[in-house]
Symmetry: C2
Subunit: 453 residues, 2 copies
């Protein structure tokens, strides 16, 4: 019935891969989308899951649900383990899926600059599971600080280090400061979450290096007003269970979050082709692999210099533009129409949020900051969510958080809740009097329940 | 400052324990609530998390958040590992917490009737983690059926067995049938989710044995109308990776869910006191442990015959009533007022939902079924949720699910997504033609993308 329609296989249903699939809805091809997750997720809001403002389901949708009405498209949940470029076949879990056109849009993961062992102590934020695991870690730090009576350990547990001053690092640092200073203080009796330290470390001279300098300066000041300690020109030389080493100092910290480097997923290794230092595949101006006109690589998996000579950044709008370009190219080839010219990237702007009523926005020559920037950021993000339901839920959650300072998704789930306590596993009585503990005078004044015996 | 106020320690922040804490807000005692989770959750809606209608955060709240304004109360996230009844001290993680009054409200877990090894293949539904793990299992069954081309394996993967015909079993069976027959069919290309079998197994002669017989009959018929196979007087003799054995038959099934027996948590063992067959502590008419007037046991952890001679059922309203009674008793002792009489349970009714527009409700002499019962069930559950935010989100989600037949929380997270595929891990090509596969004629007709080569 459709046996002679060209087969398009798309690996990865992020912004790039999903856009290719959607743009091929009315093209006479059979599309197969393969992803190792059953959902597409909105990565720009992942930090809000990591900081308990949103639930995973608020920013994720089943890929099948998004593509359900697209009758030429099949979705497979499978791990791709290799590609046979001569047989034109993708190995996906237990099956081999043949293709006429292949699109690799497998994204990127964290790079620890040659220190993969840091991954266990300094988790990054790329996947939904990363976000729930960071959420667990941050919330447990407060819980364990409340349980211990060792003041050094309390201080360590209440120190949060974010490595990397790009948009993700800025957003994480601001959001953790808000949780510590606004959402939690009324809820603890033995510690004062106000005393939590949030430290943002950037190796370069300024935060948000891809933004104009005035916006970097604004972000720096706004974070400091929120109580974040910003350290630029600081380089991490080691991460371990108990903290991080900088070139000139040691910071004891209960939580270290990695927002510094990215490296492409192993698509280049599958193909056995040339990659740049970050593992990205070097593609031609038509986004195909040199010598393989049937294989496209897009999004964070590719390194692209567009027709205007500019390197294309690793952001969602770029991945979507590449996705539309590739779909046009495939449609033109299938329908024997003239092929489009080389890929041309149109930069629409840069956005990053810092916290409550503070964000930076650059749109061509317009720079927005503060409340206006924050509103723009919020509307833009709600607009780009998929589906009315998630837009409504996210908008409602944000309004709620804004009005109440509360965070709705503060659950510690999915993991061994007690694992961090191994450090502290001596049985002992809690202190008899306030003096025996680590509480500040302020804390005692706030609490009527600090005495244990 | 408060050193001579009596110390009340509450272990477990379920319906019973939380009610005790809240009822002591204005009593001159220092309260410590210890739970191994940082959240209280609304167990009656757990099956909706397991079947992707709601997110965990929709039915759970941080315990600290609920009790934040109660200045006499401290919350600890810790595992209780033992109680020293002579020293009046609870061992909680790394600390010993002394008490003058102790309330044990630690709930119950699944009982596999002497077959603990069934727990790994037939998960039960008591915790948030159980719900997300069942959700993963159910959704992966459809995904793996779509990937395989062995018709026997597809049939097995698309067979769901629920063991136990009480309210949880009825609700799970109905909800899985709705997911299979309404939410998913348009999204698969190689299998037909309509063909999924949902089998509900009950050892006794009728479903919902604690309900009046007319409501049992209604539930049985309503489930059959929804496509659930109901088998009463059927006893499970074995569970394994590939299915279940009944006394007179074998059912090959990809998913088995256990909703049959409960056993109390180990509070009785901590105390070293008399328990019934289900591990529940036998308490006196004032809910104290015989010989220990300072130790109360409530909710599913206790076996209670109330002042009217009736056994108290293991449901949320009973746990809450016991919680209020214990708080009154402690307040009376602390304030040297006359003690309340023996505990008296007031049964308010029974509710169970079956599916879209079908529920059973018994309120004294009123029996409701169908759409009216379903509306009553929905309003009652939203009413008992804590907090405006979660009420709004749950009501919105239900309205959305009702109007669209979609389920909003269909994420496969938290686990090794591919683990179930180990059974199927031979690499092979997908079938060349429809005849090579397992698709029904209907399925081919529905799909334009079933050919792989």
């Amino acid at each position: 019935m459709t046996a002679d329609r060209p087969k398009v296989v798309i690996v990865g249903a992020g912004f790039g891969g999903l856009t290719v699939a959607q743009s091929l809805a009315r093209v006479p091809v059979d599309v197969t989308v393969i992803d190792r997750h059953n959902y597409h997720y909105f990565q720009p809001l992942l930090y809000q899951v990591a900081t308990a403002a949103l639930s995973p389901a608020d920013i994720a949708w089943p890929i099948r649900g998004i593509l359900r009405r697209q009758r030429n498209t099949t979705v497979l949940l499978a791990n791709v383990t290799g590609i046979d470029v001569d047989a034109c076949s993708v190995r996906a879990g237990p099956v081999d899926v043949p293709y006429d056109f292949l699109v690799l849009a497998t994204g990127a993961t964290h790079s620890y600059f040659g220190h993969p062992e840091w991954a266990t102590v300094a988790p990054g934020l790329k996947q939904i599971e990363d976000a729930t695991s960071i959420r667990r870690k941050v919330l447990l730090a407060f819980e364990h600080a409340e349980l211990t009576d060792d003041p050094d350990e309390q201080r360590r547990l209440l120190t949060f280090v974010v490595v990397g001053g790009g948009p993700t690092g800025v957003e994480m640092a601001g959001a953790i400061a808000e949780v510590a200073h606004h959402a939690l203080p009324a809820e603890f009796r033995r510690i004062d979450p106000h005393a939590a330290r949030v430290i943002l470390i950037e190796a370069g001279p300024r935060l948000l290096p891809t933004f104009p300098e005035d916006l970097s300066t604004y972000a720096h000041r706004a974070l400091e007003r929120m109580g974040v300690e910003v350290r630029t020109l600081a380089r991490v030389t080691n991460c371990d269970e108990a903290g991080v080493d900088l070139e000139e100092a040691r910071i004891e910290a209960g939580t270290v979050i990695w927002a510094a480097g990215v490296v492409a997923s192993p698509a280049g290794a599958w193909l056995g082709v040339e990659q740049d230092r970050a593992g990205r595949v070097k593609v031609g101006p038509d986004l195909t692999v040199p010598g393989r006109p049937e294989i496209f690589v897009i999004g964070d998996t590719a390194t692209v210099t567009d027709a205007a000579g500019k390197p294309v950044p690793g952001i969602a709008p770029a991945a979507k533009q590449m996705g539309r370009y590739v779909a046009d190219m495939i449609a033109a080839k299938v329908e024997s129409r003239p092929l489009p010219g080389p890929f041309r990237y149109r930069h629409q702007g840069d956005l990053a949020t810092i916290g409550r009523k503070a964000a930076v926005v650059k749109l061509k020559s317009v720079h927005l900051t503060g409340f206006i920037g924050w509103l723009f950021w919020g509307f833009a993000h709600v607009y780009f969510l998929i589906g009315l339901r998630n837009r409504a839920v996210v908008a409602f959650s944000w309004l709620w958080n804004y009005l109440t300072y509360q965070r709705g998704a503060r659950l510690i789930t999915d993991g061994p809740a007690m694992q961090m306590m191994a450090r502290d596993e001596k049985t002992r009585a809690l202190p008899e009097t306030a003096e025996g503990g680590a509480r500040s005078g302020r804390d005692q004044a706030r609490s009527g329940a600090t005495d244990w015996r």
